[in-house]
Symmetry: C2
Subunit: 336 residues, 2 copies
């Protein structure tokens, strides 16, 4: 900036005013300064900016999952690429961290906060009894909870939520229409808020339709557990005729397991994946899946965060209900 000031024949302050679009310099000076800056390839030092009161121009995202669970999931990278699109427009950086568990995640937030490393964070995988919203509000760290439910106890945070109950009702409705009465929901990690939400929604729907043989089983999202649970439920006396998996990976592993047991999909058992991805069209039969626009989800989350950073109000944004795409893995019940 000193260079620019010298070359443009003005003071450093004038340069600052000019380059930041603040009043206090004439248009001709502003233009001149801008040209010089451009010519010198000047970019403000984020550190200096931050030190004099501006933000860090960075938002944080920490994912708390064991490394191996992370691998196959297409969700995160898709989400991140959506987030990036929005952040890139504003020249905001994304500080990304993978940790083992929620405690470590909280420690990261504390550290980031103390080091002034980020202006805000995106919280993913909200849980039941989640310590994170409370912590973030206590720290005063701007945050958006991605996939939570609006929580009146934390009015400072924004929330993005999907209507899991509606989606579950749609799935069950569709399976019901195809004649299915025995349904098992192979759910994800028990502590996660959306897992609990889906389980509750399934139970409600089962009661409404008076279906006795409908239940949920929680897993760790891995292909191994998906396959194991599938084998277990299909070898019981009266096996279910439909399986709903909480992610694509388990659905795939489930189909493989079912096939191995001699079950044909969808003739003997229908399969629905709660998460669509290329995986679902990579095996025969193609999997019927609940499709949501994950990059768009990320974009919305990032937009909500930038709006908060701009001083906008916190809000609860409802994202579109995912659509059930029927492919080849669902069909009418064949009488046993």
């Amino acid at each position: 900036m000193k260079d620019i000031a010298r070359r443009a024949g003005v003071s450093e302050s004038a340069v600052s005013f000019a380059l930041n679009g603040r009043p206090g310099v004439s248009e001709v000076t502003r233009d001149r300064v801008r040209r010089v800056a451009e010519q010198l390839g000047w970019r403000p030092s984020t550190a200096a900016r931050q030190l004099s009161g501006e933000g860090a121009a960075t938002v944080g995202l920490v994912v708390a999952r064991p490394a191996d669970t992370l691998g196959v999931d297409s969700f995160f990278l898709q989400l991140i690429s959506g987030i990036q699109e929005v952040l890139a427009e504003r020249q905001l950086g994304l500080l990304f961290q993978v940790v083992e568990d929620v405690d470590a995640e909280c420690a990261v937030y504390r550290r980031w906060w103390a080091e002034h490393r980020v202006d805000g964070v995106l919280v993913v995988d909200p849980r039941t009894d989640d310590p994170r919203p409370g912590l973030l509000e206590e720290l005063g760290l701007t945050a958006v909870v991605v996939g939570g439910v609006p929580d009146a106890r934390h009015p400072g945070l924004s929330t993005l939520w999907a209507d899991d109950a509606g989606a579950m009702a749609a799935i069950v409705g569709q399976l019901y229409a195809l004649g299915h009465r025995r349904i098992v929901h192979i759910a994800g990690l028990p502590g996660l808020a959306h897992t609990e939400r889906r389980i509750r929604a399934l139970r409600a729907e089962a009661e409404r339709r008076a279906l006795a043989e409908v239940r949920s089983v929680t897993t760790d999202y891995s292909d191994a557990e998906g396959a194991a649970v599938t084998r277990r439920v299909l070898t019981q006396e009266t096996p279910p005729t439909a399986l709903v998996y909480d992610n694509d990976v388990m659905a795939l592993a489930g189909v493989a397991a079912a096939t191995e047991l001699g079950f044909s999909v969808p003739a003997d058992v229908s399969v629905v994946a709660w998460e669509d991805s290329a995986l679902c069209r990579m095996v025969k039969p193609w999997l019927s899946a609940l499709s949501r626009d994950t990059p768009e989800f990320g974009r919305t989350a990032a937009r909500e965060l930038t709006s908060l950073l701009d001083g906008g109000p916190s809000r609860a944004v409802r994202v579109p209900v995912p659509r059930l795409i029927e492919r080849e893995s669902t069909g009418v019940v064949r009488r046993a």
Copy 2:
């Protein structure tokens, strides 16, 4: 720090010396200062640190791939989680960015450099005629090229490289031993250095063994192209008896395509995936795959970068040759 200094009854400089383990304070003072700092929950402001000459305590990683290609690949998240392990020890942050192409990636490096946002970067997906090493050296940005080949033109960069040629030779050798003479290699993106390396290695191996009907076809790594190429080569007059896919996703899609065409795996055609992941054990038959320890790869890369940041010499590190894990998708050739 001012607070700490006051409470400990010393000057700010003494605090700085004490907390950074520099000489200039007695052990008792150091301890006292440390205790006060701890009590106050003090953490240094990265911005201030950086402004006074220290680094940004951040390394950058930019991935240049279209969003949809990113999704299914398990490679990146695994790599990142390995990287993080090492970075976390040193309290280094990871600035992560997803962009569309290499030009955009270069722009990001320029910006990061000008803004002093990162101390170093990890470069992935090296290409033939890659502009990035040159740019990074010109900018003087510390960098490690992950998966490149050592390049004497850029002595400042460290390189992590795997012996693709050796791995390819092993695969072909194994397939040859099983009686395969017609092999198609469904490769990845044509511009990538390791794609070219594998293609060259295959050609060399074919010449060595005098195999006329061995060739490579490049793709975009997607399941769609993997399936399309599979269909194309299997419907030609004398179809290959073995297919080598450059990633797990294509291999999976390829098996599905082959099965649909009436080919049985491995009876009619053997399949090898160059990249192991849960996917390979998620479908029947289980895929024989080239397995490498991706998190360890990330750890090594990060270690190399931190060593460089500590002033260590740049070097070319060779990572272990991936191992071919034979599962169910490879077998002896059945006479047609």
